[in-house]
Amino acid sequence: MKNAVLTTPKAAPSAAAPQRTVQEFLDLSARGLAELSRKSVWSLSEAELLAAQAYFKKESREPTWTEMETVAQYWSEHCRHKTFNSPIAYSDGSRTRRIKSLFAETVAKATKELKKPWCLSTFKDNAGIVSFGKSGKWALALKAETHNHPCALEPYGGAATGLGGVVRDVLAAGLGAKPVLATDVFCFGRPDDRKPLPEGAVPPLRGLLSAVAGVGDYGNRLGIPLAAGGLYFDDGYRLTPLVFAGCAGILPRWAVGKAAKPGDLIVAAGGRTGKDGIHGATFSSTELDGSARAAVQIGHPINEKKILDALLQARDRKLYRFITDCGAGGFACAVTELAAAAGGARVDLAKAPLKTADLEPWEIWLSESQERMVLAVPPANLRALEKIFADSFCEIAVLGEVVRNGRITVEHGGARVADLSLNFLENGLPRAERKAVWKAPKAAKAGKATLNPGAGRRCAEILSAALAHPNVCSRESVVRRYDYEVQAGTVIKPLQGVKHDGPGDACVIWPRAAVGEAEGFAGFALSHGLNPAYGKIDPYWMSLACVDEALRNLVCVGADISQAALLDNFCWGSPDNPVVLGTLVRAALGCYDAAKGFQTPFVSGKDSLYNEAKSAAGKSAPVPGTLLITAAAPVRDVRKSVTMDVKAPGNPLYLLGSTAADLAGSLCAEILGVEGAGLPRVDSKTALKGFRAVLAAMDKGLVLSAHDLSEGGLAVAAAEMAFSGEFGIRLELDALACKGVIYSPEVLLFSESPSRILLEVPADREAEFVRAAKGAPVLRCVGRTIANPILKVKGLDGLSVMEESIAALKARWQKTLSEALA
């Protein structure tokens, strides 16, 4: 019996059309070029088209279509991050600053200046790589990606292939890492949104359900625990949802570097090439109008699993010297990247295994069919590689070889379809200066809280609304659809507490099985920081707040943030609009200051721009400027990790950090329908001291539970700790350390001042805790755990502000999403 998956790959019948050239390209005017670019979905600017024209004039020939497609893919925003690498004239009202490269002068600059020896590879590979564990034998690859444009059109497929893509990035980090954790963060319109949508738009709730199903179906089949992530709802995402996927992988230290040599065979491994996902890289630089569905790829998780299994065996036998994945731009980007790293390459597209035989050469070259990798293999190793892949029922095909001539040469059955200078592709991209303008909004300047306690509702009502809010409520009904424990490494799980349903701050992965060592308790924690509501007011402070949130989440589980590595994901509207670009610059400047302030380098990142869509009224609106910070840090001994559920009655509760009237962009302001003032401003120096002091106490086992204060402030954090641990909490508001004088219990309970963590300390070791955490600038005992299952708050006047049953609070918190998704 012959199995279909084992049949030898067949090339397309060599009905290859005579190679078509772009007629009269050299003679086109700038306007003619722009028209051609638009029609061909190249998304190239006028300057870029003219640069291409000049190149072919120098070569004194017309380009082929494949060549122009290659230029368009390779120079796409998606592949080259033109906005982050172009000069920008940034004016913030008072002065204009000339930025040569936003990336080099913000995110990458911080990494360069921090010079951390444990950063093994930053920004240059498919993922950032840091060292892992004490032995010096292992490293950790980290990557987070976005897949927004596909998810707006087809959320199931878009989210699934988004995860597939980021997993392949980790598989192609160094010589390949074993994925041990996957993450997903979704930003969607509010689930209860019933307002009219433009034709073809996906309703937010259906989009969310499809995206969750897509990630679950793909990730669960791949066998990578999906144990970290987040959901965020805002009207700004109803037409342009954001879908982030991340992955962390373990690789041996020796496999961090890679270099192909001349004579190495270029091998395509994995799935076959088909018509799906053509123009994905360039279409992501256009505004969505619903006409681009063919640009979404079709995923097949089992194909990816086969590659994963075979590849790691081949890596350990050192059968290949270089690897990259086929993501955006397909072979065009992957093979060209390999060629650029190795000095040149020649490939024959007729050798690529195809899904259907009717593909044109340029389609084979550009197709973004999923689950494909490109390797550079020494010819002597080919047989061994073929056997490993055949045993995993996985196809490989030799496409060509590495030649050191500085060119990428593409043939199809003997006919030359593209022959380009790599120097031109790599360095020929013209960089035009862009304008960026930032104008500080008025609200951010106002100093006083506009929240009027007299007009406010009772604290209990605000708390109840906060817990039921879509951005706070229980995520259990989503989390359980993901296999968050496969690989037996998830020691701190996303759901915590007595009933395994409390909201954890970060997950901790103990990759014991993945590294195959029974001894040793080294692990790592991963968390996120995201708060677009602050960004609407001031993106600079949003960046700091996001980094602060991600780091304090890590502190809550006991991760060593002195070795925290950050990933940035910027999702913005069109950078052609100076105001939009101004907010992006401001966010990037915030990232630099946050990284320097907390001494945590960025190791990898990705930006996704042009996230705009037309509303039913035909108005085009950019997505709220959204920064996702993913942070990962080592947990030296997973046995010392801490969860967020209170453990016993009678223990003192300590609050790290001081409380100010920070209500701008807060959940409380949204609930009350007021415009709060006082945007949370992170003081990284003070925050870092506090975090370190808490970690010192945790290391001695002096913290029983810890939970970060974020949306909804102290009240929400205390409620979550209480109902997850099934004991009550008594808080005394007059014990809070405040910046300025605050009289309103609403402000004290719901302020979102940054860098705060609520800690439960064993009653019999309280003095020891205070000694161990003496480095904390502000740390006050603000209450106690109690046996009575209530959340009780005593106000400044000594009178009770609220007294709520934790069971009722939990019921409110659990209802929203489980009902919406049922």
């Binding site: 669960n220 066998g223 453990k647």
Partner: protein, 257 residues
Amino acid sequence: MKAPRILVLRAPGVNCDVETEAALKFVGGAPEPATMAEVRAGRVRVLDYAMVVFPGGFSYGDDLGAGKILAVQIRSYLKDLRHLVRQKRPVLGVCNGFQALVKAGLLPFGSGEASAGFAANDSGRFEARWVHLRLNTQSSSLFFRGLPEMIELPVAHGEGKLVLRSPRLLEDLKKNHSIAMQYVSDDGKLAGYPANPNGSVFNIAALSNPEGNCLGLMPHPERFTAIYHHPNWTRQTFFKHCVGLEIFRNAVEYCRS
């Protein structure tokens, strides 16, 4: 004494193999991973091994139903497996492996005829959660030696609802002590969702052959091989017994004796 050779069989889409091998190694076994391709090519023979394990995952993507294609392959290419079971060597199927063993007719009775099957969870979706289980104290299963009656393990599946061909079969299963584990509430009673995460008939979570050497279970013992795997290890209130590891230890020690 030499570590017993244990075959851990992988088909495309099987994804719990690494931690299953790790668990076997921790208790002194010598797991040897192999793929279905190697078995078909005759390079791997099951009778060379002291024990065979089918780990969890999504073999062949669970296209055509959970474990169905793997089950057909077991019937076609692993004809010796029935012989191995008759020789009283241990065979373990976890989650997808359990589904395949049932569909291949090796469980609950080694007749080679499928008398049970699996349907989608009653909740209609994939679900991951820890469950309380009651072991059948009358079962002759070699995997359960020394274990307490009440245990906890995680499940993670979308198609775990066991269904039986006929009501009479349930009586046979009871008579033969083939019902190895049942989903129960935290106080040990048969209960509905979420205690029974999938709606399995009679809350069945695991089946054993009457001889006790072939076990299939939906929960994942390889995910509870250290106390730090338990969702509440940071609280001091639970029974600190790594049930998962003990199940593997029993099997490996049986192979040795």
